[in-house]
Symmetry: C2
Subunit: 319 residues, 2 copies
């Protein structure tokens, strides 16, 4: 028997949890995660890939289960020391364990290894049971155009500064993918879509996670060329995002914060959009023309619920 | 009253303790430490200056009093994590608190600031009460020529690798100052010697600390041109170094491991050497032609003893 090949487009925390469910639902499958790197940031001279790390730590049982990001049993000695020097920004919560990951990554990147190889090397320690691919080896960073609260003038800030430092409180006028013109899908991404039996779009942020991945030139085309059915899962339940502040991102690009709004934003594959099927929460309704909309529990409240949700997505991928 | 201007040539742990004594003995003096940077090393992509940091932490009351180096209340989370990745050398003991210092330093060096300015910036936090100057802003690294224990062939290893990883157990054939030809004294060093009322050579390693500092082109000349008397303190007591493995270094360059041997190695200033006066431990004797040899307690066993020893050096500097 040839094992099932599943490709999942994922962001960070939500994508990581969903991947746990897929791994549980399809333990024999060959699973590839194509992960957003638009949130990546360089701080203290270290290259930080929050979404790749959330996925790696979650699948490798190293994630902090309470925060949902970063390392379990984390300490914050280096962060406190940097603050004592007063020389480095302190708004990004970089734990000591987490920092070691970024040190190794930065060393390898500085030595010339592409991010995809660095990611494989780091993942060896964590044995995630899933092939982790960055969306691209090229640096693509999401910047947010905001109005400066003091001057009122528009300026662009790094996504992490907007998201973490300002808690997305500044109105976003636009999201810009800095560097995207020179980006191409990381090695293995196009091949994974081409060989897939199922393509799942995780219930991640539709704008700054899924949208960023699909913004890499050639990646959306590779997904659309896949022989597999493409199944999306709504990150919006009952008019609100399940986690994070996706509503702030959706509003910024004029998309209604609803399962239907996101579904229509993705659009029917038969009509140039992404989706063959769209899973919305059992209490929601969504009319997305040309798309097989299914109502199933989407809360990821515990591992069995997450597994069942992944199973529903795999069922939808079978048609 | 114009305050007394004291310049001290110093290495790490011993130099740092001696500086504590000088600061206590001359609380109103203007004290400048010219510190060895030949032990500096880049590990995990971070620039580490062990001697500067030992001095800074010691004078800033941040030093670990038991180890004598590194930070008090230190933790080792990052080091353990790096080991778990198996990707970085683990023989250098880099604590979490200490690491933050190196992160800030590396960031500033990468931004183009010279080491002397970085050192001043870091020292602001620690308020050492002493002006800390690296011997040079240029990178000068001490490498040790050893016989490879497996092949028997000679090769050069970084001083830290020889000292920390091999505990100086490999026979040293020579010490090489990589980069020294392009080095010059850091800003302020020549001026400090020129304005000094007293120049003290700390009881630091005569080869890889004091010898390295004096190896910077122009620095020895600046010291010898000082109007002040130059007083050295023996790091060797009763035929053995007080700390560290200075005997391994002295043997390698053919200097007898004794207070007299080191005194003669430094030599009389009247004869092209360094010293006007040479302080040896009260139980030692030394005949160094042309040098005012004085026998005083040199053990630095507690702060009062260290202060008394510094006072003896200042007395000798007065002639």
């Amino acid at each position: 028997m040839v094992c099932m090949r599943i490709v999942i487009v994922a962001g960070g925390v939500g994508g990581a949890r969903f991947l746990l469910g897929v791994r549980a639902a399809a333990p024999d499958a060959d699973i590839t995660a194509v992960v957003n790197t638009g949130d990546d940031v360089t701080l203290h001279g270290l290259r930080i890939c929050p979404d790749l790390d959330s996925v790696m730590y979650t699948l490798g049982d190293g994630i902090d289960p309470v925060r949902g990001w970063g390392r379990r049993d984390e300490s914050w000695v280096v962060k406190d020391e940097l603050a004592a020097y007063g020389a480095e920004p302190t708004w990004f919560g970089l734990g000591d364990r987490d920092l070691a990951t970024h040190l190794v990554r930065t060393r390898m990147l500085d030595a010339g290894y592409p991010l995809s190889e660095v990611t494989l090397a780091l993942a060896q320690r964590w044995d995630p049971g899933v092939t982790l691919l960055p969306m691209s080896d090229q640096r693509v960073e999401t910047h947010v155009v905001v109005s400066d609260p003091d001057t009122g003038r528009q300026r662009a800030v790094h996504f992490q500064e907007w998201w973490v430092r300002h808690r997305a409180a500044l109105d976003a006028h636009a999201f810009v993918q800095v560097g995207v013109d020179d980006a191409r899908p990381a090695p293995g991404v196009v091949e994974a879509f081409a060989a897939a039996d199922a393509v799942l779009v995780a219930p991640s942020n539709p704008v700054v996670s899924v949208g960023t991945v699909l913004g890499v030139p050639g990646l959306r085309e590779a997904l659309l060329a896949s022989p597999a059915r493409v199944v999306g899962l709504s990150p919006v339940v009952d008019g609100a995002p399940l986690r994070g502040m996706a509503d702030r991102c959706l509003s910024a690009i004029g998309v209604e914060v609803s399962a239907e709004g996101v579904g229509r934003h993705y659009g029917a594959r038969s009509d140039g959009g992404l989706l063959d099927a769209w899973l919305v929460h059992e209490t929601d309704t969504a009319d997305v023309p040309g798309v097989d909309v299914r109502r199933v529990p989407l809360l990821m409240s515990d591992p069995p619920a997450t597994q069942a949700m992944a199973q529903a997505a795999l069922d939808a991928a079978r048609g």
